[in-house]
């Protein structure tokens, strides 16, 4: 199974398959330069009659995308960093410390992934509104996302840290290293690929979140890009042309993150999956 360089036929087949695979994305690009009138007449698959970037302009002006874009960054970046930090701490405990609650905690972290999260919407609203007083702030959304992603992230990190041989860590302990030193100077550097992989996933998920910001934020000024995207929709009129343009804009940061971290990403998953 050693990957080999392949012939022309392979590349033709692969390219065709790839085109088929990304055809929905191409359709979305196509739609984003069409007028609503053309779509209303049912012409989705033809080339646009007139090519115009008007929809993109409109997404930014009418849709106030620049504000929303910034808000999304403000919410997503610190959340990802915080989740990486906390979940790697948790993962280290669950994988490497002799702690009698380990298996039960693992189940608790997994359990949080199982409930259809929509049912938590209103309880979480009351929590931030009545008790934590973080309602309608970006900080409130960040706190919530950190907590909510910890379940999957801790489980993920535990599995990766588990692949580090126990011997190395034992040796460090015998040398008198504190657990914090072992975590910060040995585990974290070894986990850099896994953290890159997790960062990419987390970034995508938090960037694309809509429902939670809907429940936790009321003021337009601090809403994320998904709200902006949703706002292009009308009561009756779906405005697919604007929505497509908005979706393309909104997809740029996660795509960039993917492209940037791809190398680490593959290597990172390799360690955990193929132990």
């Amino acid at each position: 199974m050693e990957p080999k360089r392949r012939g022309l036929l392979y590349w033709i087949v692969a390219t065709l398959l790839l085109l088929l695979w990304i055809s929905p994305i191409l359709a979305s690009l196509l739609t984003s330069v069409k007028t609503l009138e053309e779509l209303n007449e049912g012409y989705y698959w033809t080339l646009p009659r007139t090519f115009s970037l008007q929809n993109y302009v409109e997404a930014f002006t009418v849709g106030k995308f620049s504000t929303y874009f910034l808000n999304s960054l403000i919410i997503t970046a610190p959340t990802v960093v915080a989740v990486l930090f906390f979940s790697s701490l948790n993962g280290y405990v669950l994988a490497k410390l002799r702690f009698k609650w380990n298996n039960k905690l693992l189940l608790v972290f997994l359990g949080g992934m199982l409930l259809p999260f929509q049912i938590l919407l209103i309880p979480v609203f009351y929590l931030s509104n009545q008790f934590l007083h973080t309602y309608d702030t970006r900080f409130g959304v960040i706190l919530f996302h950190i907590a909510f992603q910890l379940g999957f992230a801790s489980f993920f990190m535990r599995n990766f840290i588990k692949t580090i041989p126990d011997g190395i860590i034992e040796a460090a302990r015998i040398d008198g290293c504190s657990e914090w030193r072992i975590y910060s100077t040995m585990v974290i550097p070894l986990m850099r690929p896994a953290l890159a992989a997790l960062a990419t996933l987390l970034f995508t998920w938090i960037w694309n979140d809509y429902l939670w910001s809907l429940i936790l934020i009321q003021t337009d000024q601090i809403k994320p890009i998904t709200a902006g995207l949703q706002n292009l929709k009308g009561q009756w009129i779906a405005s697919y042309h604007l929505q497509s343009a908005g979706a393309v804009i909104a997809a740029i940061p996660p795509v960039l993150i993917f492209a940037l971290l791809q190398k680490h990403f593959i290597r990172g998953l390799t360690m955990g999956a193929g132990k």
């Binding site: 009138e37 209303n40 049912g42 409109e58 609203f125 509104n129 809509y210 709200a227 949703q230 009308g234």
Partner: protein, 408 residues
């Protein structure tokens, strides 16, 4: 303390009728599409000019999201003004004491709002909502296709509608377009047929939860509807299309008629504009007075609003004929204030104003008049019915069971 706050409230009441209160005004709106937003921003600009000292903030969110979100802020930390629908959907919040009465605002507008409009915004003798616009429902049809299939004139009676459907089918044209991916377009059919067969009072009584969905009257409504289903009046692809996608059937000349609200008239592509005209829903029983469907959009003040004085100023502003006129020049809908003028060159608006003016009663729409749960089961049932008309009894008894549980 109590006395002080009472004085405060009294003072607030006074300043609200006088000029400028200063301070803030926060408005949550569900009118998110570019057209509605532009309409709202136009009149908001005027309001800011008139009250330069008030700092106005608007939060806009799309319709579907708004319906979810309102549950969080309305009972807890509401804005000063919010948008909503007239009818039962508003009654739910009124009964939970979450809505501020507006009787004082309406005391200055005598004669400007029709009885029918007032009925849709009043609950237990008090007025709670400020209606800004409504729109009529009816048939949008292709003149050229009618001609092609040999349909001489737009149908005035049910029998003529059936006959037209048959002729169109024979000519290889889908008689009536409909998209029920979202179930609501099916409910317009129920509303109209039930009002035409059993009358407006029966219909409203039924939807308010007092009538019986398994009654012979409702069965007659369904039997009438079934006639049209059985002659192939509707496309079998309906459940896979949204209302907007189904309208493309009309624009592409695949279908000849479409029962829809007048918001569709601004969507007609210029290439077919000359061929599309309007006719009102046909008469079924000539003895029954003709009622219409006219959903109304409203603004209200949440009971826990912080700047009620400013909110009332805004409501007074919204009630004005000139404001409603300006607002609806952009929305393309009908103003509710009857002193507001409409664009008479717009034939769709003109027919709308005419049929609503002559109506014996105005219903809001099935899912605005009925309890949400009954509406959901009902509309799902209608979609099923249009595919399997033979299941009428089972569908009706399912709706009836839900009604009984909700209104026990």
């Amino acid at each position: 303390m109590k006395v002080l706050s009472l004085i405060g409230i009294a003072l607030a009441g006074i300043t609200s009728t006088a000029l400028a209160a200063g301070g803030e005004l926060i408005i949550n709106s569900m009118h998110s599409d570019p057209t509605s937003k532009k309409a709202f921003e136009t009149i908001l600009g005027d309001f800011k000019k008139e009250h330069a000292d008030i700092k106005v903030t608007v939060n806009t969110i799309d319709h579907e999201s708004y319906k979810v979100q309102i549950r969080t802020w309305l009972p807890n930390n509401p804005p000063d003004v919010a948008t909503w629908f007239a009818g039962n959907r508003a009654k739910f919040f009124v009964e939970k004491k979450l809505v501020e009465p507006l009787d004082d605002v309406f005391s200055t507008t005598t004669g400007q709002f029709s009885e029918g409009a007032m009925a849709a915004i009043s609950f237990n003798g008090k007025k709670y909502l400020m209606p800004t616009n409504y729109y009529h429902w009816g048939f949008y049809y292709r003149k050229d296709l009618f001609q092609k299939a040999g349909v001489a004139a737009p149908p005035k009676t049910w029998d003529e509608l059936i006959a037209a459907a048959q002729k169109l089918r024979a000519a290889g044209i889908i008689p009536i377009a409909i998209g029920t991916k979202q179930a609501w377009p099916s409910a317009a059919w129920f509303d109209f047929i039930n009002m035409r067969v059993n009358g407006y009072p029966f219909h409203m009584n039924l939807l308010s939860g007092k009538g019986n969905y398994s009654s012979p009257e409702v069965k007659k409504t369904m039997a009438t509807w079934a006639q049209l289903v059985k002659v192939g009046g509707f496309p079998e692809t309906a459940p896979a299309m949204t209302w907007q996608e189904a309208s493309a059937l009309l624009w592409q000349g695949k279908a000849a008629m479409y029962l829809m609200g007048n918001f569709i008239s601004s969507e007609i592509p210029s290439s077919v504009k000359a061929q599309v005209e309007f006719f009102p829903f046909p008469i079924i029983d000539p003895k029954i007075p003709t009622a219409q469907v006219a959903p109304t959009d409203v603004y209200f003040i949440p009971a826990k609003a912080k700047n009620k004085a400013n909110a009332k100023l805004f409501m007074t502003f919204l009630a004005r004929a000139d404001v409603q006129q300006k607002y609806n020049e952009v929305t393309g809908l009908l103003p509710v204030n009857n002193k507001a003028k409409i664009d008479v060159t717009n034939t769709f608006l003109k027919s709308g104003q005419q049929i609503l003016g002559q109506a014996s009663g105005l219903s809001q729409f099935f899912d605005r008049d009925a309890e949400p749960e009954v509406a959901k089961v009902g509309m799902d049932g209608f979609v099923e019915f249009m595919r399997y008309p033979e299941r009428t009894d089972a569908i009706l008894s399912r709706i009836e069971n839900t009604r009984k549980r909700v209104h026990r």
